[in-house]
Amino acid sequence: MRLCKQERGFLLLNVAIIGIGQTTYGEKKKQSIDEMVFEATKKALDDAGLQREEIESVVTAASDEIDGRAISNMLTAGSSGAYLKDEVKVSDGGIYGLILGYLRVASGVFENSLIVSWTKSSETSPDLVSKWAFEPLYTRVLGLNYISSVAIEASAYMGKADVKDEDAARVVLKNRGNALKNPLSHISHRPSREEIMSSRFVSYPIREIYIPPKSDGACALVIASRKRAKSLNRDCAWIRGIGWSVEEYYAGDRELFNLSSLRRSSQMAYKMAKVKNPLIEIDIAELSDVTPYHEMMIYEALGFCRDGEGKSLIRNKITELGGELPVNPSGGILSSNPIFASSLVRVAEAALQVTGRAGKRQVKNAGLALAHGFTGIFSQGSSVVILGS
């Protein structure tokens, strides 16, 4: 078998994304959680041209707290196609579901796998839930939640890289402008510069308009081994590189403008995909712009530019839809944010791009795409997936 022969050494062209299913994003009062999950899963299966019976593995990714269910994949097992299948759940962003699904298929044990992630933010307060991500001894009582944590990172970055509020506004204008071309988007409104500058500070330097919406939605992918993907005889998005890493829990232990877990995970993915110069080699990126400041920080951590130069990429329109390296043609998380599914949406959008199926938001000649996700508070963990056509 190929793995035994190859032993270590990274495997290329081994696993491909062959089916993509997304719901629209926004508030979904008419659907229960499992109905939303069924919709995305069914779409992904139809897109792959597979019946549920043909699926060998299922990986789900969701939050018990936001679902309001102590084991969130119990209900959704059926709607994610897992009835009498080998299924596992990661309590993490959907991109981690893809990682585990990749490992399962790359092992040779399974020929294919469904990856399904969802969040129904409208049923509770995700901000309140995020408070509980702070450990109870030293940090939870300090008024911290997810938004204040990203604000602290953003302010650290502003000081380090001399980034201005105007630069953040440029990121919002770009991503919200792109979202107008994405029919799935939660927010279809590109604010004026004045509107941005008059938006109140929720947690300085984060204005209300810099905070992603809280969306309901589900995303599902079907991945398959090389053999299976080839037999379909159609364009697939090949997983060329994959990397994930975690930093210290306590944010005070590290530099907050650095996104060091992302630096490490991108190194792993670049090595596997043999990417030497990301700005030149990567054609499109879907990044977790949890704030506009973070998008610029991510440019630097991914090596799209030198440290401190993230602002130049946005000022010089390099990452706009017609630029050298378009970032978030989908509109990014600033436009649609089904929280736990958001990172899987990045992968789905990257896969649509490299297979030329991204509609009005399609980037020309998108041969190599990068998708990114964060996990935990203070960007403690990161993951990177590189897809090729």
């Binding site: 008419k30 097992a77 059926g78 196609g81």
Partner: protein
């Protein structure tokens, strides 16, 4: 050492407002308005699903038909709870999965109207195969507790 250990008291209080969805809402509406229990039929395997689901997890298709099921059925499994659990009702109480006439799957609810103080006496009445009927609450509000099961006369 014991005296010096510090404890941090915490309580989770996260509120939810779970959407029953269109299908679930129609199910509860039928209970409120007409005292009817409605199941959903899978167009492929023809199973009538209770609780009503808008899709069949086995055939992986949308369900598209409402089926009014009977308000009588048979106990498939049960327990009588004598232990006290925080946040749950005061014991004793009986819970049973009941296959309602015309349904393909069993639905769980309380069994009321049986004296549970003596387990052995209660077990003569509440057992697998016992026939029960659905009894609706007078004021129904769209909750599963709008109804419960009671034993039919002939078996009790």
């Amino acid at each position: 050492m014991e005296r010096e250990l510090i404890f941090i008291p915490q309580a989770w209080n996260i509120k939810f407002n779970h959407a029953a969805g269109e299908v679930g809402s129609a199910f509860f509406r039928a209970i409120i308005d007409r005292k009817e229990i409605l199941g959903r039929r899978c167009p492929v395997c023809k199973r009538v699903l209770l609780p009503p689901r808008s899709y069949c997890e086995r055939c992986f298709v949308q369900t598209d038909e409402w089926v009014k099921v009977g308000t009588e059925g048979t106990i498939q499994a049960f327990t009588i709870v004598y232990g006290r659990f925080k946040g749950l009702p005061d014991p004793p109480y009986a819970i049973a999965y009941v296959l309602l006439n015309g349904a393909s799957t069993s639905m769980v609810n309380f069994v009321k109207g049986v004296d549970l103080e003596d387990l052995n006496e209660a077990l003569k009445k509440i057992k697998i195969g016992s026939r029960v009927k659905v009894v609706f609450k007078r004021k129904r509000e769209g909750r599963i507790t709008d109804f419960w099961y009671e034993l039919l006369k002939e078996t009790s």
